[in-house]
Each structure stands twice: as C-alpha cells, then as structure tokens.
Amino acid sequence: MTIFIATIIAVLFGCAVYLMLGRELKEICMGLFLLSHAANLVILEAGRTPGGVFVPVLGEGHLLSQLVDPLPQALILTAIVIGFAVQGFLLTLLVVTWRRAASLNTAQLAQPQPLPIAPASSSPPHVDQPQGQSTGNDPTTILTTDRQEHR
C-alpha cells in the first residue's frame, strides 16, 4: 500500500513542481496549493503505525495500540487551515500585483522598469489617448506614469 500511496504522492509533487515552474504567477500559486496536498499526504503516510487501524477516538472499545497515531493528524489539521490562510494572502497579492504591474508574467515582473526622470508635478497621464488600441494599451506605459506620479 505504501508504494501505491508513494506513487500518488510522487505524481502530485511532480505536477505541483511542474506548475510552480511555470511562467505565470497564477500557475505558480496553483502549483503551491497542489504541493500542500501532497505534503499533507506525506506526513500522513509517514505517520502510519503498524498496528493502527481505528480512528483515534477513545471509548469505542478498541485497544489503544489499535488506534492510528493522532499526532500527524493534529499537525496536518493546522497545516490545512494555515494553507488556506496562505492561499488567501497569496491570491490577494496576485490581485494587487496585477493592478500595480499589469502583468503576472514572472519574467516581465523581474525586469527592472525604467523610471522616468521627470518632476513629480508633471501633468497627469493622458488616460484617454491609448483608448481601445491594442498597441496603445501597453501596460508598462501606464505603470511608468504610475510610478512617476508616486515619486
């Protein structure tokens, strides 16, 4: 049974890592969430004890040695909830990143954006100019004006 579950864990890990090495932040997040499932399963499988069969609840008439080890379960339980909190934070970061940088592409986010050396009191960006044109909608120009205003 171990070898089967280990295979499943390996598949989950492989897919998670493949997603995490993607080019887009969303993909990376998905990979990370998949990874947490796989990690939980590793802990659960590693914590399996030879005699443990029954749910770790007392008073059901089982021998104590027949109960499953409860410690990995307690660890995983908090890990699940914390994983959710991390998901929420990460997704919010993604939203904010998208709004600020207009990109979720890792390579593009890594590029140092040229900061225009313009006085802070320069005229506000002409928001109507690039309207609707696919070429004029370059998010980086918006980004630079954004930064410029913020300096």
Partner: protein, 1040 residues
C-alpha cells in the same frame, strides 16, 4: 595566592582593569562635548588605573599564581578567565602604560578640537580594553573575541577621516585582513582545542601534545591569523596603509601594541607547539622574509610614517622569527634570550618615532623626509624635535648605548646559539637577514642625521611642500595660536619619557633589571640584563656582527655620495604587495557581482528552480547516505493489501489523474475546479486513513477555498497576454520528475523506518514506540504515573492535542491566521483608498484593464471622473475597441458573492440556521468526537457566507452586527485569556483543567474543560479569518 591584600579579590580586580578603559570611554561619552580638559584627564585615568592594578598584581600576586576568573558558557568552552602570568602582565603593562601617554599626546595632537576629542577617546579606550583582554584572556574563545574587538577598533580609528575615501578604503583593507585572519584563527584554535582537549592557554601549557593530524592544520590556521594581525609577509600591506590613521593611533595601535598581538600569540603557543617540526620552519621562514622585505622598502620610502611602518614590519618579522628559535633547546633552556626585552625595546623606540613624526607634521605640515633638510636649524622647537627624533632613530638603528643595541646583541646571540645547537645552515641566513636589517636601520639613521642636521640648501626646505591643502594649514596655524604651552609640550613629552626608558635600558640596565627579571620568560644564561660594557668584556660573534653592521652601513651611506653617485635611497619605490589586496578585493566583488546576477535574477522561477534542484540534491544525498535499501518486492507484496484497501486505490488513482489533468488543462476556471476536486479526493483519502477530523476540515476548507479562488480569479485577467513558453520545457520537466522521484523515495524510506523508542516511559515502564502513544494514553486521564496532570479530559485525541497538549503551537498557528487575514485586508484597503482618490485615476485605469470590472455602474460610489470606463481591456486577447462594448457584456461578476437567486434566498432561510446549529454541535462535541474549533469555525463561516450570497453585501453586517475583524480580535483575546488564566494561578501557560458537573434533573454528568475556552477562541478566529478574506475580495468586485 602569593601574599595578597586582605579583602581584595584578584578576579574582580583584573576583570575591572580589563573592562575599565571601555567603561571610562562610555562614561566619558555622556559628558558634554565642550568638557575638553575633564575628558582628557578622565580618559588618562582609565589606563592609569589599569596600569596600577596590573602593577599591584605583579608585585603582590606574583606571576605564577595561575589563571583566575569564572566560567561563563562552559558548554561552549567559553570561560571568563584571565591569566596574569609573565607574558600577559608584561603586555598588559605595556598597553596600559603607553595608552596613558597616548591619551596625553592625542589631546596635544588634536588640539582643543572638541569633536575630534569626543570621538577619539572612546575609540582609543575601546581598543585598550580589547588589547588588555587579548593579552590576558586564558580561554581560546575569549581571546579571539578580544582579538576581533581590536580589529574593530582599529578599523574605526584608521577610517578616522570618514569623508576621505582613501582612508575608508584603507580601514576596510585593514579590517578585512585582520578580522579575516581572526576568523581563521578561531577555526585554528577550535581545532587545536579539539585535538588537545583543552581550551585554555594555561591548560595547554601543561599538556604534552601528542601527534594528531589536526594539529598541523590547526597550527597553519593559527599562523594565518598571526600573519594577518602582525603584518607579516605576504599580508603586511595593510599596515603601511593603516598610516592613514591619525598619528596617535599609529603610535599606539600600529607600532607599539596591536600589531604585537600576533607576536603575543606566537609567544603563548611557542612552547607547547615547538614540538611540531613545521612550527619553527614556518615562523623562521616567514619572519626572515618579512625582515628583509620591510627593511628594504623602509629604506626606499620618504614619508616618515611609511618609513617607520615598514621598519615596524621588519621588526615584527624579527620578533616572529625569534619565537621560531624556541624549538632549539640547549642545556639552559631554549635558544631564545630575553624575549620580553626585545618586545619592550621595539615599543620604546617605535612609539616615540611615530609621536615625533606627528609633532613634525604639526610644525611643518609635512611628513616627507625630503622637506626636512636643515630642520635642526629652524628654531628652538625644531631643534628639540630633531634631537629627540635622532635619539629614537639611533635606538632603532641599535647603536651602542641603547637598549636596542643590547636587544640586537641578545638576538644575534640567540640565533648563533641555535645554529650551534642544530648546525642548521638556514639559521645563518637568518643571521644574515638580521644583519641586513641592522645595516638598513643604521643607513636610515644616517640619512635622517644628514637630512635634519645638514644645510638647508641641500633641499627645498622652506616653504614646505603642499602636503596639506591651504585650509588645512590655516587650521594648523589656528591650532598653534590657541594651544597653551602645556599641551603643546605634550606633543613631544610622551616621546621623551619613552626614550628616557630606552636609554636607561642601554646606559643603566641595573635600573630596569628588577622589573624585567620579574617578567622575563627566557633569561637563558644571563641572570640580568647585560650591562653597558658587557659586549666589550665578553666579546662574541654578536659583537663582531654589530661592528660589521656599523662599518658597512656608514660605508654604504656615505661612500656613494663621496664618489659622486646618488645615495642608495635615491628614489622611493612602491611595495608591489600593495596591489595584492585591491586585486583580491576586485576579484571578490566582481566575482560576487557576477554570481549575484546569475543567481538573483529577480524571477521567481529561478528561485523555485534552485530550491527544487537543492531539494533533489540534498534529500537525494541524505537518503542515499542513510543507505536504506527499499525492498521493492516486499513493497509489491504489500500492494495487494486486501479488499479493504480498494477505495484507497480508487481515490488515490483519481487524485493522481486529476493532478496530471491540472497540468494539461489550460482553461483557468477548469484548473481551479480540478484543484478543488483533488482537495475533495484528498479528504476522502484522509477519511480512509482513519482521520475523520482531517476529512471534515479538508471538505470545509475546500468549500471556502473554491469561493476564494473564484473571487480572486474574477479580479485577475483571463489569460496571459504574453507569448507562451519561449525556452525549452525540458529543465522544467526534469526538475518535476526529479522532485517526484525524490519524494517517492523519501515517502517509502520514511514509512519503512523503525522508529527509535521514545525516552518517555508509559505506565508499564515500557518506552513508547511513538510520540502519539503518549497522547493516546494520556488524552483522557487526569494523572499520569509521575503524578503530573497531562490529561486533557477528552476522547478525541486529535482535538486534545490541538487545544491542550500542543496548545501553544495552535496558539501560534491561529496568530498566523490572523496575520494573514490582516494582510489581505490591508493590501486591499490600501489599494482601494488609492483608487477612490480622484487624483489617482491611473489606479482606476489599471483596475479597468481588468475585463471583469465595470466601473460605470457604481458611479455613485466614486467621484465622477474616476468612474468613467476609461480604458478597454488590456488583458483580453481580443481587446475591446470601445467602452460601449464593455457595458454590453453580461455583468457576471459584478456582484461578487451576491447572487440574485430567489430559490437560494429561500433555501438559506433553512440552511443557515441549521448549519450554524451543526457548527455549534461540532464545536461542543469536538473534544469527544471528530470536530472541534477549526471545523466549527469553518462550518459557521460557510453558513454565513451562504447567507451573504443570498442577501447581499450588507446582510453580513446586519447579521453579525460587529465588524468581521473584531471576531478575530475576540478569538485571539480569548485564547490569550485561556492561556494567561492558569499563569495567574501559578500554572504554566495554557494549562487546562476539566471536571464533571451534574446538572440538577439530569443523570448524565456534564463534562466541562477550560480547553473549551481556548477552542472557542480558535473557532472565532477561523470564522473571522475566512469571513474577512472572502468578504474583502468580494467587496473588491462589488464596489466598482
């Protein structure tokens, strides 16, 4: 303890003497800057106090009384012990004595410059403490700590001119070399401690070292530290550069004391380590090279401080070389003679030389020897300085009648004795090198004499060169105008005091004898310092060499000039070693920069790739190393685990296939669904693993996670605007497969492991096979075998672990939850505020690039210019060409979570109360049955979210009647209360109690537990966190 004054504790006295300079320096910093005179006397007091304590220790405690001190961190082999023996006390007296004189000189040198004095005294006093600690520390580690303290203070003092890039560069060089050497030294001493088993110098001295492979390595590393600190070839170039420091610093640190730290360490270790054959070879070789190199460069320099610096390098080489002779032993001990006197001699002429160089720079604004022609004839002050300088130079040249002469004679005798003992011809090379150094020193002396006493016309004496800029000169002139005669005389009086000692040693050695005899470690066959006529009455080879030195140096210095050639010092040269450090530095910084640009791409993919590769390599290596062979056949037999395992196979396969699907599916919403499906499958697997708590939690989490995901995706662009994969997918695939393989292996080997028995015994006295057993056994019980109270009074062991046994962990975890939720709120809140602000319309612009946001409808919420649909979608693959198209689109996500569905509204009327009731049930039953605060919180959150979905954004506020974040605050407060309550009663944090309560009219006793309060806090936090996150994201969609 020999003698001793009643009631006096030497341990605290010596410790105080070491600490007192730094302490005085700190106290002095409190005083206002303009208290100049008080500050000077206060600062002089510190080394004087130390000096007096050390003198008292020498006189009353004696030098053989052994180390003293207290243990500090014995487990780290670190003890606060000092060893005031001959060597330690000598250096301590030297450091504190010269320190007091330098404090006086510093006041004269800097003048009444309150800012300079405010800075210089604490730095100098810090150094004094570092140096005193270094020479007295008995423990290896303590010594290294003080060693590095001297490096730090030296760095501070060399970089005195903070605005001068050259000075800062020189300070960095000195710091890198000396403290880097210190690190290597620490490694060497630790290795020595491991090899010998003792961690203090006093213990090492009594130990007979046995051969061990670690000893030579330790020795080499220690020697690197020595070479760096004592400016030996090839690491000497920092010392001449350290002359960027003010002259008091050069006189104190870089001639008399700090550079002798390496010599001190060699002296400490010479006797125990002399048994290693490589030790004397190392010392003598490096020492000899340094002697020759320093002497040659000193001859060819013209800056006074540089000449003295290279002469110092040369003399340090001689001192290092001297301890190499320790290995040559005859009937009267080792070949070394009067080593303490050698060190003292150097301090007694080199410190005056530097002091006088500073004084000349004050008078003449130059330190270049070529500007000093006829200096002697310039006036009264000049004459006095010239005489003192020549007297000091004469001592450096080891002319007869000085202590220097005696010292050189003794050293030559030592070398010759060693040669006679061993017959090693290499020692004749040393003899020749020392003779060369003697010749060079004498030639330099002759050069000085010719320059200073010679006619003015010989050079371009007045006006002096422009060493200082014009304003600098004005500053100096100002200084002289306001300098009182007392402080002006302090420019040379410290030098005169030291020189007086130097000449007393030469002329009337009997006066110094009592002190030196107390301190001297290697008197050899000289019971007292050789007298004035000793050399003549006992002619030896040393006298012959001395005569040869004097004759040949006069010939070398004077003959070429007579014969019409240029003098041998005709032009100055550069020391090629000066290029070593910059080259090394460039290599490190450039190489580091290149490495940085390779590793730190700023692209998260790179980092993840590196992490994955490291995971594969490290875990793979560790697994390979443990050598667990996994018998696959056994594993395959295990596969057929009976029909009971069938569901597991089914759901496991489902999870694996879904994961593969997730990689293949490119549709955004599809991926989320698949991920959610995997979550549910995993929940089933949890259940099959007999973990109902986990299954419950996972299912509830999947519900809220799905909502969270869909909301976040609504705020994100639909697909990537950018071209897909450019590069090869092969590395990505390889890394994934690698991680998968490693995790496969890890899972198999971890699951197979036979665990070591736990150190805790169970009731039958048997060790627990795993930690979980302890929890299982004690979850319900109130008292364990040892009479403690570990029991939690619950039947559901998982919940008891969470809220009771490992309550502190849970406490930390829920705090993390709260922080994450606050992070979400803050990120979105900050952003929203900016976008609402009409002056920041570009944010709205960015928001509106989002195809799923429609600003036009909620125009009343925002000021009108902002709410206009300004820009079309950027993120869409097919950009919409005009704003009208946008409003024509179905407002799918406009309401966020608020659905306008009448059936749902009706259904929630029933579902929500039931769900809340179920949540309460799960919460109260959680201690006994699967469930608990986490699950209950999630259930309640789901119920409230359903209500919010059906009735809109405001409904949640109406229902809760408090802001969501208050739930988190209340929950965290409750858990803290549950933790702090017991501490008020004297129990540990988070101790829980339970008992039974029979409600009147009921036969079943009701069990109460204080852990329930904690669990309630957990539930409130989970509820608050989930609601806050989802509410915040949903409002992002609704508001616009």
């Amino acid at each position: 303890m020999a003698g001793g004054i009643p009631g006096m504790d030497w341990t605290s006295l010596i410790s105080f003497a070491v600490i007192c300079p730094a302490l005085f320096g700190l106290i002095g910093m409190i005083a206002p800057r303009y208290f100049i005179t008080q500050r000077v006397w206060w600062s002089i007091l510190a080394p004087l106090v130390s000096f007096l304590i050390f003198s008292a220790c020498l006189l009353w405690r004696g030098v053989d009384a052994g180390p003293l001190g207290v243990g500090w961190m014995p487990s780290l082999q670190l003890s606060l012990t000092f060893q005031p023996d001959r060597l330690g006390l000598f250096f301590a007296l030297l450091v504190s004595g010269i320190g007091a004189l330098i404090m006086l000189y510093a006041r004269a040198y800097f003048g009444p410059d309150q800012y300079a004095l405010y800075r210089i005294y604490p730095s100098l006093l810090l150094f004094t403490t570092g140096m005193l600690g270094l020479v007295l520390a008995d423990s290896f580690v303590l010594m290294v700590m003080f060693w590095e303290l001297t490096s730090v203070s030296s760095f501070l003092l060399i970089g005195w001119e903070r605005d001068d890039p050259a000075a800062v560069k020189n300070a960095m060089q000195a710091f890198f070399i000396t403290s880097g050497g210190g690190v290597v030294l620490l490694g060497g001493l630790i290795l020595l401690g491991l090899a010998s088993g003792c961690w203090s110098f006093s213990a090492l001295a009594q130990l007979q070292l046995s051969a061990d492979w670690r000893l030579p390595v330790a020795l080499g590393m220690i020697f690197v530290g020595v070479v760096a600190k004592s400016a030996q070839w090839p690491l000497h170039s920092w010392l001449p550069n350290a002359m960027a420091a003010p002259t008091p610093v050069s006189a104190y640190l870089h001639s008399a004391t700090m550079v002798k730290a390496g010599v001190y360490l060699v002296a400490r270790l010479a006797t125990p380590l002399a048994i290693l054959p490589m030790w004397p070879v190392l010392l003598i070789t490096v020492g000899t090279i340094t002697i020759l190199l320093g002497a040659y460069v000193a001859l060819r320099k013209t800056d006074l401080k540089l000449i003295f610096a290279y002469a110092t390098v040369s003399q340090l080489g001689l001192l290092i070389c001297m301890y190499g002779l320790e290995a040559y032993r005859g009937d009267s001990g080792s070949a070394v003679l009067w080593d303490i006197t050698q060190i003292l001699n150097h301090a007694l002429y080199k410190a005056p030389l530097f002091i006088l160089a500073g004084a000349i720079a004050h008078l003449y604004f130059t330190r270049d020897l070529r500007d000093l022609y006829g200096f002697f004839h310039q006036g009264k002050d000049e004459r006095r300085l010239a005489i003192l300088l020549l007297l000091a130079m004469y001592a450096m040249a080891a002319g007869p009648l000085t202590l220097g002469f005696t010292a050189k004679e003794l050293f030559l005798t030592s070398v010759y004795d060693a040669y006679k003992l061993s017959g090693d011809w290499a020692l004749l090379v040393v003899l020749a090198a020392v003779a060369c150094q003697g010749v060079v020193n004498m030639v330099i002396f002759i050069r000085f004499a010719l320059t200073l006493l010679g006619p003015e016309s010989a050079g371009n004496a007045q006006p002096p060169h422009d060493l200082g800029a014009e304003e600098e000169r004005i500053a100096y002139e100002d200084y002289h105008a306001i300098q009182t005669s007392f402080w002006a005389s302090m420019l040379w009086i410290p030098a005169a005091i030291l020189l007086a000692l130097q000449y007393i040693g030469g002329l009337f050695p009997a006066l110094l004898n009592p002190a030196l005899q107390l301190l001297e470690r290697h008197p050899g066959h000289y019971s007292s310092l050789p007298g004035l006529w000793h050399a003549l009455t006992h002619p030896s080879i040393a006298l012959g060499i001395s005569v040869l030195i004097i004759v040949s140096s006069f010939a070398l210095a004077l003959l070429p000039v007579r014969m019409g050639y240029a003098p041998i010092w005709r032009n100055s040269i550069h020391d090629i070693h000066e290029k070593l450090f910059p080259a090394f530095y460039r290599l490190v910084t450039h190489g580091g920069g290149r490495l940085f640009s390779v590793v730190q791409t700023g692209n998260v993919r790179t980092y993840l790739g590196i992490i994955c590769a490291a995971l594969i390599l490290l875990v793979g290596w560790a697994l390979n190393r443990t050598g667990d062979s996994i018998s696959l056949s056994e594993q395959f037999n295990d596969v057929v685990g009976g029909w009971r395992a069938l569901p597991l196979y089914a759901f496991g396969t489902l999870a694996g296939l879904a994961a593969l699907l997730m990689v293949l599916v490119q549709v955004r919403g599809g991926r989320v669904m698949v991920l959610s499906a995997i979550g549910y499958t995993v929940a089933v697997i949890f259940y099959l693993y007999s973990a109902p708590d986990l299954a419950l939690t996972q299912v509830s989490i999947e519900i809220v996670a799905l909502i969270l995901f869909l909301l976040a995706l609504g705020l994100l662009p639909r697909t990537s605007r950018f071209p897909r994969e450019k590069g090869s997918k092969i590395p990505r695939l390889l890394l994934s497969i690698g991680v998968a393989a490693v995790m496969f292996w890890l899972t198999l080997s971890v699951s197979q492991k036979n665990r070591p028995p736990m150190p805790v015994l169970n009731a039958e006295g048997q060790p627990f096979t795993h930690l979980g057993q302890f929890f299982v056994r004690n979850a319900e019980k109130a008292v364990d075998v040892q009479g403690r109270h570990p029991g939690g009074g619950g039947k559901n062991v998982v919940n008891v672990i969470l809220v009771d046994f490992r309550g502190l962990d849970t406490f930390g975890e829920i705090t993390v939850l709260g922080i994450a939720a606050l992070g979400v709120l803050l990120l979105l809140h900050r952003h929203r505020n900016q976008s609402v602000d009409a002056t920041h319309r570009k944010f709205v612009l960015l928001n509106d690039m989002n195809p799923l946001s429609y600003a036009s409808d909620d125009a009343d919420r925002l000021s009108s210019p902002v709410s206009e649909p300004i820009s079309a979608s950027v993120a869409d693959q097919q950009p919409v060409s005009n704003p009208e198209n946008l409003s024509n689109r179905p407002p799918r996500w406009r309401h966020g979570l608020s659905l306008t569905s009448e059936p749902l509204r009706i259904a929630t009327k029933l579902i929500v109360p039931l769900s809340l009731l179920f949540a309460l049930f799960i919460f109260f039953k959680g201690h006994q049955l699967p469930g608990g605060g986490f699950v209950a919180g999630l259930m309640a959150a789901i119920a409230l979210l359903a209500h919010r979905m059906a009735h809109g954004r405001e409904s949640l506020r109406h229902m809760l009647s408090i802001p969501v974040r208050w739930l988190m605050a209340a929950g965290l407060s409750l858990t803290i209360l549950a933790g702090l309550g017991p501490t008020l009663l004297g129990h540990p944090f988070l101790t829980s109690r339970f008992g039974h309560l029979t409600i009147p009219g009921s036969t079943v006793p009701f069990e109460w537990t204080t852990a329930l309060v904690f669990d309630l806090g957990v539930m409130l936090i989970v509820l608050g966190v989930v609601l806050a996150m989802i509410n915040a994201l949903s409002e992002e969609l609704e508001i616009r």
